[in-house]
Symmetry: C2
Subunit: 220 residues, 2 copies
Amino acid sequence: MAERVQVEEKVLSENDKLAAQIRKDLGARKILALNLVSSPGSGKTSLLEKTLSLLKDEFRIGLIAGDVQTENDAIRLERAGGKIVRPVVTGGACHLDARMVGDALQKIDLNSIDILFIENVGNLVCPSGFDLGEDMKVVLISTTEGDDKPLKYPAMFRKSSALMINKIDLLGLSDFDIDKAEKNARQINGSLHIMRLSCRTGENINLWCDWLRNQIFSKK
Amino acid sequence: MAERVQVEEKVLSENDKLAAQIRKDLGARKILALNLVSSPGSGKTSLLEKTLSLLKDEFRIGLIAGDVQTENDAIRLERAGGKIVRPVVTGGACHLDARMVGDALQKIDLNSIDILFIENVGNLVCPSGFDLGEDMKVVLISTTEGDDKPLKYPAMFRKSSALMINKIDLLGLSDFDIDKAEKNARQINGSLHIMRLSCRTGENINLWCDWLRNQIFSKK
């Protein structure tokens, strides 16, 4: 196994070099880049749909939609008003890597966007290990999952800057304890900025929009 | 990258050898072994809790509970009446492999069980690539995820024998179309045995119990 570890370290280091270059290119143009990570079904695409509907006239939004198969998410985002949407089909791979993001960025005029959302593959484990050149990771969980997810998948919560707890419209219909979920998340990462919202009903979506505006302006 | 592929193939082949040995050992004792796979939060542990409460006096149930960190699931299963529960903490790895299962089985007297449930790490991508020596994979999705999951994560649905659509008590509260989900799943794997149920309310849990009884008896 030692050989395998060495090879993986080499691959990771190549990824880190590419990610650093992406970060430099985006930084030079003051583009805020967010890497959205979560389990399948927590609501990454729904969050981006809502974001497009609310902010597409305020900011120029670029989107990279990663998926194992299909371009379903990219199609949804275009329908929601996304003008610059690049699908990345990983063909089985369980996460995006910096090479995939770099290739997708070749097809985006970086002078035409203020913010770049990278929707990662739905997977709460593997994407935590791959820097994509983003400013920060945003992790989503939903109230229909377990409130112990931060403890069970700590790497993702440790590496994220913000946590969205989605589907608050379904609170009370399961055993999910939202205060406990927050407490568990803070136990893993005390500096997480946590927002509770519903992408379906739009409740508290203004918290997310305000946070985004702040992040965009602090890049300028 | 060629070197990496070769090394991974070697690792996989070692995994397959170990899995074949596990399958032989379990088969010799006519133990039904099921590998439960899903996203985090689809309800693998809830399904096993319900299964224990209903079938623990009828069958001798062994459980291996895989998790990235924590032994939370194993603790829940013991509370639900599980007498033979072995936690496997992968320490960051995104799936169980045959070596982990083989090690856990060393601590189980195989003459004392009729059925072995292996609860895999919550991940809809990576566990599809690792044979654990099971008779079949059972994949769970829930009605709070997207109904296009089978199309987006096809490998897992292709390699599974049964699909549980969980959380039917929450149908109608999201845009999830259960008929579409079934249709999407059958498009990927026409021979999937599909069951719709709610582990929370217990609705249709008898379908699962009956299916399990059939599988156990057909092994004898």
